[in-house]
């Protein structure tokens, strides 16, 4: 199969869906500019112009509410935030309007399938308000779907699913994934939400992850393989719906669980995955669960602090060694996926 980068896959999904459905339009701050939301909206703008790729005022709350209203009236808005942090300003519209619309009016009068893409991930000393990943916050609320594609194929397929589905969707994209290359089908085939993926098969430890952390987990798995520890990496792909089955089956097999995330532990992704296991297969656990997540502070800027702050392949390695009873072991530090990034932002 031909390969694309993650950002190209998103761009292709956008363009193909817009070709097939003229109700789809892209709305976001600067989506028409030279950067084109990390390249993901450039081709759409080139093809469809400003009527369908609309530069929005800096008004995130209204933008989200307008998207809801447009969706209620039959359009299919794709809202893009080049930093997901701005979505806190759209929280009411997403959680109170989009998520609840269909149900609140009885469930039989149509929904508001707005699709919101939010970019997260470490850049270059971006500081406390540009280094967050609010996936768990949105995934807490019934009515939304929240997906976190880790591969170019999923980035395309899940955006296609979102743009052709019935449900309001939040897609969280880690910017460090954009340059990643992978095989991507030419056709706009949807990847359903709620179906996880074994990113790497293994027998000794299960690492459950989403988005960027899937790749960090794969790096960790490679290093651990050399040491004779066989790691299974589960990519949940979407947080809501969540594929409980794939998590439980893997843990039932390996008996050990590490959960890795780019956000804080409390009330987050790592909590939910651990809870699912505690609910369904607690007796499979041969060791306590370990969570790899952010330390309990806001994000710092200074490079050494930033390096210490963000969990990566090596943090996953340590956690895996720990659950395998080799807590003392120290392996060479791995470079994280984002290593080598250059600014200016």
């Amino acid at each position: 199969m031909r390969t694309l980068t993650y950002w190209q896959a998103i761009s292709e999904a956008t363009v193909q869906c817009m070709e097939r459905d003229e109700r789809i339009f892209v709305a976001g701050e600067g989506v028409d500019d030279v950067a084109g939301a990390f390249g993901t909206t450039k081709e759409a703008f080139r093809r469809f112009g400003p009527r369908r790729v609309v530069d929005m005022p800096n008004a995130e709350n209204a933008t989200a509410g307008i998207a809801v209203g447009a969706a209620a009236a039959g359009q299919r808005p794709l809202v893009v935030h080049v930093r997901a942090d701005f979505m806190f300003l759209a929280m009411d519209a997403l959680v109170n309007m989009a998520a609840k619309w269909r149900y609140t009016y009885g469930g039989d009068k149509g929904g508001v399938p707005v699709v919101t893409r939010g970019v997260v991930g470490r850049g270059w000393g971006q500081g406390s308000t540009h280094s967050q990943s609010p996936h768990a916050t949105f995934a807490h609320y019934a009515g939304l779907h929240v997906a976190t594609p880790a591969t170019p194929a999923d980035a395309k397929g899940m955006l296609v699913q979102a743009l052709t589905g019935d449900t309001p969707v939040v897609l969280i994209e880690n910017r460090n994934l954009y340059p990643l290359v992978g095989e991507v089908p030419e056709e706009p085939l949807p990847v359903p939400f709620g179906v996880g993926r074994i990113a790497r098969a293994g027998t000794d430890v299960t690492v459950v992850a989403a988005s960027l952390m899937v790749h960090e987990a794969e790096r960790a798995a490679e290093q651990l393989a050399e040491r004779g520890i066989s790691v299974e990496v589960v990519d949940v792909r979407s947080l809501r719906p969540l594929d409980e089955g794939i998590i439980c089956e893997s843990v039932a097999k390996t008996g050990r669980l590490v959960v890795a995330d780019t956000s804080w532990a409390r009330y987050g992704f790592t909590a939910e995955v651990a809870a699912v296991v505690a609910e369904h297969v607690p007796h499979a656990l041969r060791a306590p669960v370990r969570r790899v997540s952010l330390p309990d502070s806001p994000a710092p800027v200074s490079h050494p602090l930033e390096e210490a702050f963000h969990p990566n392949a090596s943090s996953i390695v340590s956690a895996c060694l720990d659950v395998c009873g080799e807590a003392g072991a120290v392996l060479p530090r791995l470079a994280s996926v984002s290593a080598g990034f250059q600014g200016p932002f």
């Binding site: 209203g69 209620a72 269909r102 009885g106 009515g143």
Partner: protein, 326 residues
Amino acid sequence: MMDSSRARLIRDMVRIRTVEEVLADFYRDEQEMRTPTHFSIGQEATAVGVCSATTPRDWVYSGHRSHAPYLAKGGDLEALVAELYGKEAGCSRGRGGSMHVMDQAAGFAGSAAILGEMIAAAVGAGWAFARAGEPRVALTYFGEGAADEGVFFESLNFAAVHRIPVVFVCENNRYSISSPLGVRHAPGTSVRGRAEACGVRSLAVDGNDVFAVRDAARDAVDHARDGRGPVLLELATYRWRAHVGPGLDHDHGFRSQEEIDSWTAACPILRAADAVRGETPGIDTLVESWRAEFRQEVHAAVDRAKALPFPDIAGLLSGAYLPAAR
């Protein structure tokens, strides 16, 4: 003979007044409509005057004070009453309650409990109409209290920049629950001034004069429909009952009896009747007969609603994600 369109406006106001008064009594006496309910009694001219200027293909949104716009737009009375009683046959299948009503056939596009939400939604709907090349207009009712919210400005601004066919209908009844406008907006400013500052054409109208409201709304809707951009109508009016529930709040101390009395005297129905009394001396008899007719209609709707089944709890989750079968 009275101009039939004038008669129609008065009749519609009487219907809404009668329906709400009867529902308020049932609400108070029975405690069976278990949903917070914001009556528009005293504010019927804004509902009727504006909606009379729309076509069924135009969409009207409102905030929490939803019954009057819903009914004025032609929303189904039985479905509304069933909704208040929490019945499966309710306009929102008992899921939405008083603050979340919808009648798509009539063009009542929805109401919401959170201030400002439907201001943005209406702009989005108007945008959708324009994008699809349809000559339709979106309208959105909100109180002057919702005009405190940032999303109101963001929505005005976007509508002006993109010349969205939307009419912002501000029912300025001077209070947000019990907060007078004076503690929320600075002296010398107005809601319509805010619209103008964003580039939205605006008009301030006596909101208890249904004929003036209708005329202003016609201009506004035409303006929007012709692609000439959004319009805001600031309609001065007054609510007679408490903010929420069937009771009065006269003893809460935040508004004076004089103020209440002067606005009760400015009853939109009375004023409309006065205005046509010259041409139609029999107007009062007419109003009385309408009252009787609508009292019967709403009593029948209540009786029917009570006899209807509640939703089956087996369907609790239905419609949360995928369409619910009806």
